[in-house]
């Protein structure tokens, strides 16, 4: 059985949004018959992450959380994988990291291993929100375009697309949502949201084995 491991820290506003919207990825995975290893909240810690990845070698790893060029973090910003510590843990795997900056350095280091793919962002993953909806992220229609476009990387991989195709499909969705916002001349917030979608789209990259699939 194919497995997806997903980390869902939830200790601040951005991680809460990513965590809640990642339930859509989980639903998609389950509908496709994947076994889901859901490292939610305190389970998104290095011990659990290392143990699960080492033991199960999942077909797809989705990392939500803060990051910087050399690391991806989990719950309460505990480092899960870092260039200086344990990049080899992702060797041979297909990883999508919704984690600021991590594709800039960590992703490249990880992809030094054969048959390894790292899809992620080379700068800050940025999104807008409706402040009155922050306690109900799934009802936040301003965050929806960002979350859906980001999720589309994982959803496309779960549908069997290659890493290269999944990245392009997600970029296309970022672009479509941006163009739709730009056509909305009556909404004063639309321009900011379009600009931010453009930023995320520009910084989404696919490193390593471009033809790798989740199954």
């Amino acid at each position: 059985m194919s497995r997806i491991l997903i980390t869902r820290p939830e200790h601040d506003l951005p991680t809460r949004y990513l965590s809640r919207w990642s339930t859509k990825i989980i639903e998609e995975a389950q509908s496709k018959g994947f076994e889901v290893l859901d490292l939610h909240r305190e389970k998104a810690c290095q011990t659990e992450f290392m143990g699960r990845v080492s033991k199960t070698r999942p077909s797809l790893v989705v990392l939500n959380g803060h990051g910087h060029p050399d690391a991806v973090t989990g719950h309460n910003n505990e480092v899960l994988v870092a260039t200086s510590e344990n990049p080899e843990i992702l060797g041979g795997l297909l990883t999508y990291a919704v984690s600021c900056d991590s594709a800039a350095s960590l992703g490249k280091r990880v992809c030094a291993a054969d048959a390894t793919t790292f899809i992620g962002y080379t700068d800050k993953f940025t999104f807008t929100m409706q402040y009155r909806k922050i306690s109900r992220p799934l009802e936040d229609e301003r965050a929806r375009p960002f979350m859906e476009a980001s999720n589309h990387v994982a959803v496309s991989l779960l549908k069997g697309h290659t890493a290269r195709q999944a990245t392009a499909r997600a970029k296309r969705l970022f672009h479509q949502k941006m163009m739709r916002l730009l056509s909305s001349t009556a909404d004063p917030d639309a321009l900011l949201d379009a600009q931010t979608l453009w930023w995320d789209m520009q910084h989404l990259v696919c490193l390593g084995d471009q033809e790798k699939r989740a199954f």
């Binding site: 601040d12 506003l13 951005p14 949004y17 803060h66 990051g67 910087h68 600021c100 900056d101 800050k124 993953f125 940025t126 999104f127 807008t128 929100m129 409706q130 402040y131 009155r132 922050i134 301003r142 290269r164 195709q165 392009a168 499909r169 997600a170 970029k171 296309r172 970022f174 672009h175 004063p188 917030d189 321009l191 900011l192 600009q195 931010t196 453009w198 930023w199 789209m201 520009q202």
Partner: protein
């Protein structure tokens, strides 16, 4: 069209003007830099601090892309940004 480079204070004024028309309900997450309401972001941009600078960078990338005319490119498997 003349190639006009904006000075730092001109960029800041432009960004502040754009922020001022946003709905008060606007919030933005800039990764590990934090999450901010519209008014908080205005303060950061006016202060010229790292958060403000990052937001200005996002705006400048947009302007640069407009100038280069690459907005209409549709992402496809062979399109490289």
């Amino acid at each position: 069209m003349a190639n006009v480079e904006l000075k730092n204070d001109e960029v800041r004024d432009l960004v502040l003007a754009r922020l001022s028309v946003l709905s008060s309900d606007t919030a933005i997450s800039i990764g590990s830099n934090g999450s901010f309401t519209r008014d908080e972001l205005i303060e950061h941009v006016a202060a010229g601090d790292p958060v403000g600078k990052k937001f200005e960078e996002i705006q400048l990338e947009w302007l640069r892309s407009l100038k280069e005319g690459i907005m209409t490119h549709v992402a496809d498997p062979d399109y490289q940004t």
